[in-house]
Symmetry: C3
Subunit: 376 residues, 3 copies
């Protein structure tokens, strides 16, 4: 099998996107689209355009042809063509061309209003879709439905069990809400009740470290694989507090439970994540969000992710959310990064082609099937 065959294997590989959000359900104008090509939640200043970024250039280079435009089409032309085709057709084309066969859709972000549900993703793409449930959203919904602080330690696990009856995984955004430098121990019921009292009165997103730790440990008890946002994200994070190494003690406490931990994105701490994935059997990681936002530089990020971790501990995700361009590019850029790294190693005679193809399949699909117990 020569290098061309390896390229074909990587390009044609049906992928399991183990952490993704729904595609947009409705049309967006240029300002809204630009706002979704960055993790910033601030208005884009009038003296710049978010299209002038690695991600913006990647959209123009690789998504334009899927919409029948030439590569490097101008943002104006791209937006016009997008509008002309309509959201349904744009989404259909970009998802289909991504080659993703199975989406594990995290549904806790932005509610269900403007993003497609797992069923909507399946319908729009012809692929399978399963659900990943965000722990913080379950608690916030329970608070909205009404719960007494004293009931929480008993009630939350019940609600979580109901809510995740068909889910394949859990997700925590403790990184956003308080960072990873928390006391990793399971809080006691009285501590939880005390913390819940204050929070239920004030409302809003849950940010109390005691409640966030309670959620994590309820998640561990639930027994599903637990995804943790790590590293790069929106301005809510204090990024230096989201280095996955800060989870080391939590990781050790979780180990006896047998629950798999999935560190998401991790940029620019992906080498640190590779260390954790090497030394702890239950730790896995991806470089999801970091791929889209570094555009063609993601080849370097993908290569750096292939250092310390055994190949059975690395997964593929897009973390796409909203514009289907992100679902498309997340897959395309991952394939490009893997192709570049693995082809060079095969060309130099340093990896065999069959090993390279096998590793691509593991990371792109098979490891996710194993971790999440997906039936092919």
């Amino acid at each position: 099998m020569p290098t061309d065959a390896l390229t074909a294997v990587i390009d044609d590989l049906p992928l399991v996107d183990h952490h993704v959000h729904g595609a947009l359900g409705a049309d967006v104008d240029r300002a809204a689209l630009e706002g979704m090509l960055t993790e910033s939640d601030r208005p884009i200043p009038e003296w710049m355009t978010q299209f002038d970024s690695q991600l913006g250039f990647a959209v123009r280079r690789w998504c334009a042809p899927v919409l029948d435009l030439p590569p490097h089409a101008s943002p104006q032309d791209y937006l016009a063509r997008r509008t002309e085709l309509g959201t349904v057709e744009v989404t259909r084309r970009l998802l289909a061309a991504s080659g993703i066969e199975h989406y594990l859709v995290e549904t806790g972000y932005r509610g269900g209003d403007d993003l497609l549900s797992p069923a909507g993703m399946a319908a729009a793409s012809g692929a399978r879709a399963d659900e990943v449930v965000r722990l913080e959203a379950v608690l916030e919904n329970l608070a909205r439905d009404g719960v007494a602080a004293g009931e929480l330690p008993r009630r939350f696990p019940e609600v979580l069990a109901e809510r995740t009856a068909d889910a394949v995984a859990l997700k925590s955004i403790v990184a956003y809400r308080c960072g990873f430098d928390f006391d990793p121990q399971r809080p006691s019921d009285p501590e939880v009740v005390a913390a819940a009292g204050g929070w239920l009165r004030s409302g809003g997103p849950v940010a109390d470290p005691v409640l966030l730790r309670f959620l994590l440990w309820c998640g561990i008890d639930r027994g599903l694989p637990l995804q943790l946002h790590a590293g790069y994200g929106d301005p809510d994070v204090e990024l230096h507090r989201c280095d996955p190494l800060l989870l080391t003690r939590f990781v050790k406490l979780v180990e006896p439970s047998g629950v798999d931990l999935l560190l998401l994105h991790c940029y620019p701490f992906h080498r640190n994540a590779g260390y954790l994935a090497q030394v702890f059997p239950h730790v896995h990681f991806d470089v999801g969000l970091g791929i889209n936002h570094t555009g063609l530089r993601s080849a370097a990020v993908v290569a750096e992710s292939l250092e310390l971790a055994p190949f059975s501990k690395i997964l593929f995700s897009t973390d796409a959310c909203g514009p289907p361009e992100l679902h498309h590019l997340g897959a395309l850029l991952w394939r490009r990064g893997m192709r570049r790294a693995l082809s060079a190693w095969v060309d130099a005679g340093e990896w065999s082609t069959s090993d390279a193809a096998r590793v691509a399949r593991m990371i792109g699909r098979d490891n996710a099937r194993r971790v999440y117990r997906l039936t092919p």
Copy 2:
């Protein structure tokens, strides 16, 4: 426009060096020159030469031909030719060949004795020069001139306004003096007066966190763009306390003021700086000092700087200080790094040539013109 044309654009681009110090005004011997090819302030051990470093090799490779020597000339030959030509001619040649059209000269380091002033830089290079004023130096000068602690909260802003009447920016070296893990809040006047009392009695460089925070907030009030040394520097820094991510809370507090923050150098935390520049509209960064001192490896540093940040948030600087070799190489190595990265992307059909040329102009010149309101 083929790749050769892109190369020409990058090589011929007149640059705005948005953070630089004066070139040497007088001759130096080998020991003094070697001492300025490192951020170390320790005597160079007898068993080594600082020429055996990436920067030293870069001087021999790229500066030697500007002085009519062959590439890779020996340090001995290089020093001899340098002496033969004399400081004025060496400086004239190296600055002219750098293609820098505008220097923003930070004048707070080493006073005006042995480094050229902005006017001196303009005279030596034929380029424009403006001044960047170092906050800590203004305070230390005010202390030398005599000021009572109780007057400081009122007096310093007045002095700063006078001192910066013609300046284009401010600079802070809080990284050197106490690191970034400080309380980001503006200190109260009584706190400032109390801290000033102790410092004015003891004298010396200002290192009290309260006074340093006072300077930062007076700088914000002044309204000029604020440059912050971040990352790599001399042994005064505790480098792990100079990660720009540690500034996140300060960055958020500054945001409503509309003042631009410029994170300088940032190595080896430049990816972290890229994150801040993506999510906060007023944050910009460069990899200045890290370019010269990594020599030809700066191509990797430049490429890593082109990841998360929108291209309108990345600037060029040399941070050269002393030997005009540093001014020359800072420009030359930046052009080399940009050429390598962008040419590869254009050759692969992944960026258009016109986009690549435009990005080079933004980073090398136009972003600085916008941030500092420079008239072309």
Copy 3:
């Protein structure tokens, strides 16, 4: 001297491995061998093999031919051939082919039972071998032999002097035992006695920060070069507490003593180590352990190690421990990384070939000879 000649210089250079452990003295089965191809001390899960890693692929690619197998031989074939040849012959072949002429063997790990002693390494390889003594092991042995807490401040330096009469260096694993975020001051005798009292009663590995600091300062007093494990290692480390930058204050306190500090491995903080090696005359570093475990990606790690540090401050080590595959690959991959980096620079006309050859000799051999006062 063209590039081919540079390749020959690097490939034929006799190396000083300045930090290594003994090779295995006895046969191992597949499970045991896999367990030594990772820093994890956990059982390898049944759904994976440690051969599916960069290190595992490197063993199959480069060690298989030394055992007369084709490159990329399967793990089964590799293990079978290994058994067929026997440990003595496998070790002899792999060590001889490494081109290491001098091993500085750290003897504090795993005692002398299953790893070859320095004399055993010399006998198996035909190379020279000297000893590096681990401070913590000396104290733990002294405790086993019996010592009163009150005697320790006087007794330990005596025992250390005896134990290191023929040693070339000391080693500390304070990174594993408490991390680098310790009080860098020398503890007082009463503090040491108080800490020793508790530890001598409870036994076990020494992890008390006071005792670990006592060991470090006794090491400094002994005057031999002091090696410090930094960065990547087994799950005992909390990796974020092993960033060598956290040693900055200790480094400054040690400086007046004139004792050389050697930061080992440092991955993924090797750029940080390069900073320390630039600004402090007595700091040196290597990327030892990080080379083997990143396999062919070690070319990137080696290149990243060639940034800030003067070339006289960078050393070569394998940190191999157990399987002689690690001794072999540590040397092979270092040569490969240096060859790739330096050849590219020479081919581009950016370094001279003679400079490149000289730098390879410095890092691979000459710097170690100078630091450890080895006679050629």
